[in-house]
Symmetry: C2
Subunit: 571 residues, 2 copies
Amino acid sequence: MTLLRRFLPGWLAAYPRQKLGADLAAGLIVTVLVIPQSLAYALLAGLPPQMGLYVSIFPVIAYALLGSSMVQAVGPVAITAIMTYAVLSPLAAPGSAEYILLAAVLSLFSGLMLLACGVLRLGFLSQLLSRPVISGFISGSAVLIIISQMKYLLGIAPQGRSSAELVVDLLGKLADSHGPTVLIGLLALAALAFARHGLGGLLGRLGLGAPRAAFIGRLMPLVVVLFGTLAVVWLDLDRTRGVAVVGAVVAGIPGFEFFLPGYESIKLLIVPAFVMTLIGMVQGITMAQALAIKRRERVDANAELVGLGAANVVAAFYGGMPVGGGLSRSAINVAAGAQTPLASLVSALAMIGVLAGAAHWFERLPLAVLAASIMMAAWSMIDLQALRQAWAYDRADAMALLGTAGGVLLLGLETGIGLGIVLSMATLLYRVSTPHIAVVGRLPGSEHFRNVERYAVETIPGVLFVRIDERLFFGNLGAVEMRINQELERIGEARDLVLVMSAVNLMDTTAVEVFAELNQDLAERGIRLHLAEVRGPVQDRLQRSALWSSLSGQVFLSANAAFEQLRQPPA
Amino acid sequence: MTLLRRFLPGWLAAYPRQKLGADLAAGLIVTVLVIPQSLAYALLAGLPPQMGLYVSIFPVIAYALLGSSMVQAVGPVAITAIMTYAVLSPLAAPGSAEYILLAAVLSLFSGLMLLACGVLRLGFLSQLLSRPVISGFISGSAVLIIISQMKYLLGIAPQGRSSAELVVDLLGKLADSHGPTVLIGLLALAALAFARHGLGGLLGRLGLGAPRAAFIGRLMPLVVVLFGTLAVVWLDLDRTRGVAVVGAVVAGIPGFEFFLPGYESIKLLIVPAFVMTLIGMVQGITMAQALAIKRRERVDANAELVGLGAANVVAAFYGGMPVGGGLSRSAINVAAGAQTPLASLVSALAMIGVLAGAAHWFERLPLAVLAASIMMAAWSMIDLQALRQAWAYDRADAMALLGTAGGVLLLGLETGIGLGIVLSMATLLYRVSTPHIAVVGRLPGSEHFRNVERYAVETIPGVLFVRIDERLFFGNLGAVEMRINQELERIGEARDLVLVMSAVNLMDTTAVEVFAELNQDLAERGIRLHLAEVRGPVQDRLQRSALWSSLSGQVFLSANAAFEQLRQPPA
């Protein structure tokens, strides 16, 4: 028992009895409420809808046992689903056996990468993306999602390889819309929009508290699904009117399916999996932290990555669809009163029951209703306020946001996020590429060196003392080199250049190479290069470099030692 | 005449007569010497060999008139050629009309991007890549180039979509090698290797000076081409033995062909064009600078980009193959004694003569000879010393080098360079993600604040003064937040947090959002957030942000003002 306890996660080993009731109730409520979105996101991913239910079982258990958030709920999520569709639909026909296999491989890769990032403590990589870029990516994806669902809502099949082509083709085919499908879809959309925007106020005026009103709002997707299905069944819309429905759902728990991905699939999917990992990381960590702050709890970003990674690896073999930390799922979980991951365990077990006993209920659920719920969720992901704020605060960040969103819409998801990374990095580089550098001289009667522009200091004709106030790396060397050359030109006949390195705590490989070239270049111009006040760790490394052995001048312990020696006229 | 002079580039408007002879001679020599490599790189790019000659005319003129380097020579280069092949070969059959059109579009896009970067002064973007990453990219590409030429050297046709598959297939087909082709190829390879590694020493022992010996070495490719062609002609190897040769060369100057790229080609080629732009930028600027330093001249990186961009735009319409600043071309130019871009103008005009009068001479040039010269050039691009040095100096940089080279070889050129950018950026982020932060207190009897760990300073119970010593941006906020929370925990019952911002000269949009969240989080925990010594430009922006209006505490002009007010017990 003690042994067992050591292998249990902390929350389970010391589970407080009094939370049991809340967790049990929350788990059961969540099971029922997440059914519509699980089906919908699987559809969005181009997979059979029931796969969304499959991955609501074992991946959820894996995350509950390994993740670090108390209330984050994992499962199929919108961004991951649209990325799956974007990556796989050019490679195989959505819904085909090959497509399903590729989805499992994608889930496996991104799971393994998340696990690796967690174990290697690479959580900081999620900082590769600035918030405006993330916001642009999500808003752009949301528009893509809405476009992708029009076909189900209208009952037509637009064709096109890009979103622009799809929209054009769709507009041309509007007249072919399937009447009953459109009717069902628009009614569902109206009901969901009302639930989100009108219902709360109405219930409030009826005297309900805000949390309860919000909870009832969250019930609406289920109500819509229910009515949609009943309408199809009563009026036999699928058989007599051709309304598209989910169709045969394979009931029962999915079996464990083991497979080894081939070289070809590794090559095709490794980059998309990396992009999904990055986005999953950002989304998972951000949400877990936001939830934890509200509850005065802590999350460990790297443990979080291990949990998400394990969930995706398990998803690859038991269900075959990538999963993530879901905003609406987690919100439902919190609203239902979940206290610990036990609620997720309960919901996973209950989902097995649903699949075993009630899967056939979804067979006649109209796709237009699922599409409406996806579109509603996507609509709420479009964040114009972020754009407005960024525009007011920092134009460069606003441009990065627009560039990423535009890239996603016009060039596709992967290219868009790639563009976003490049834009984030370009702004970063632009900002760090102008390091602080000062020409210094000696304060009379002291051993202190100060900026020549601000103090009356002593200088030596033909000798330039330059203090570099920042670490030297590939991104700022251009500016450093240019500044040094400007200063050398300014003083005219230079014979010695002393770099005061007291504030340089890093020189990367590029910096050493550039300085070695500078050293050679200066030597050819008859100027010696000296270093002073090199920090210990920097010096340890420099001694292993070509710069050290080829240095035309000396290494001085202090700027003052250099000053004393170089003030002597050259022999 | 004065008017005309105003539109001429500086070097031409004030052309010194005494350089005319040197430039004329150099131009004529260069024309002859670059013929083998122009044919070879076009072949490498999957294009008809004569296209390499076409783009040695008008793009060269465009660069001569607009570029800023005195001696850099543009034309077909190895890296650009292999990238063209890697990008286009999955889209169309090499050598087909569609392929040729796509190559022109690729050249147009990368030319426009280079122009835009030059005009918008975005030359700093070339710093997106660290040197180890560039070195890894070039070495990896060189291996790809060698693999791609094996088929011409051996006269067999290996199949495979990845370089690994190609190599495996090639090894399996070794027995089918075409004897005469292999013989010609290996002889050419041996001659070129001797020219590079043995000839210099031999000529030195015969009493020749080093520069003259090097120049004779550079003649060797031409000699090899000559003998290879003569061998084919004398022995009729192409007709009787099936040795593959260049074939019909369309003589004469290429006509101007105008076209507008379609949406589909924009979508397919925009990202590859961006990658080519980036690499072209790095290569072009680096080389121009290296050449300028040797000659005590200056190059303007942005003017250089304009020149390269114009050359590529012209190449798109007159020849249809991307061009770049070529290392070996420029070396030939310098060795031949070029003084100004007039040498390039002369060589462009002479190339028209070659195409008009001598194009048919190349028809029976064996492809194996061109492949040998490509492989020799690629071999010299593999830089193991860079790896050795990086490994000794900085393991992280060495891993970035290996990762990029491995990515290029296993996942392809674009993915490889993408991986390289991500690796560069990850090391950069890792290095800037730990900003310097100090908990400070007041030096007794003064208004100065110092680090509590190093000075005996006054502090106020429940009040934490934290000084942030770096700009705040998306990459280091995680560390800042964590540190603040650690310090708050350490002092226990905190009621006020004062951030001393004297050294913060930038807060990006992400920073403002994270601090707004921190402010709210702290408020819920009963801790007020104050700012002190906010710099003017930072404050101007902050006033437009949500953080400013929602700040739970105050904004103090100085840390001391905050200290004086907060030392009073709360009311």
